[in-house]
Subunit: 129 residues, 2 copies
Amino acid sequence: MFRIEPLSRQPVYEQIVEQTETLVLTGSLKAGDQMPSVRSLAVTLSINPNTIQKAYIELDRRGIIQAAPGKGNFISPAAYDLLCQTKRSQLDAFDTLVRELLLAGIEKEELCGRLDTLAATSLKGECDV
Amino acid sequence: MFRIEPLSRQPVYEQIVEQTETLVLTGSLKAGDQMPSVRSLAVTLSINPNTIQKAYIELDRRGIIQAAPGKGNFISPAAYDLLCQTKRSQLDAFDTLVRELLLAGIEKEELCGRLDTLAATSLKGECDV
DNA sequence: TTAACTGTATTATCACGAATAGTACACCTA
DNA sequence: TAGGTGTACTATTCGTGATAATACAGTTAA
């Protein structure tokens, strides 16, 4: 379910947060789905339970999951819409990257071509905002 | 010349490296241009000379600058071409980002529109590879 | 020649945050 | 009741970015 790279600069707990969000966006995780328990995921990924907890706390803070003490952590009903909204505010990252690639002499046409290919591949629904 | 954000997760020395590379790509720094001296830049940016040196060592390692002991650090003749080549290998970052934005329900057309705008704005030459 | 600049090298130390370790408590359910 | 769940807390380790303080060597111009 998760793929952790311990050598990455990005903290492990953040990798879990981001991958969870991606799983929600791709539809692999839907509202109401139960997350792996703190302890079980710690065993699976061979990392400390506290690290998992830290990731879950952050996901809860963002409204992506909801904790039910004694039962488990579950994907929040609003998770998907929340993420759509968040991603929309990250369009400037797209701008920055494109600007740099253009500066490096990469043709606009090449980027457009890739965009088309990706759009055709990722056959996903819309975000009803 | 440089804009350092001390609170960023990105190390200061890396900020200097990346900004230098961007300046080369934009044409603000050309082959043969002299970089600020380690000590002077340290004073200007109010950071430790060792941090500047670390950035310069990395730039030298990448072939972007060349050191002339006793004289200074200078933009390497191959700097621009090197960066064009490097950026080209970062197209998968573009793919990853686009994929996520598409998943978040952002229309392909919107991204294309932004791409057009950016291409029109950044009126730069090509990279003769 | 001297002074003042340049890059380079070395060692020690500090500061911050990620990650670990260990323990404890409360809740839910079969 | 037993064993799962989330939660809280403290202490410690560890890596690394950044600082501090020197020292040495090459270049340049007064």
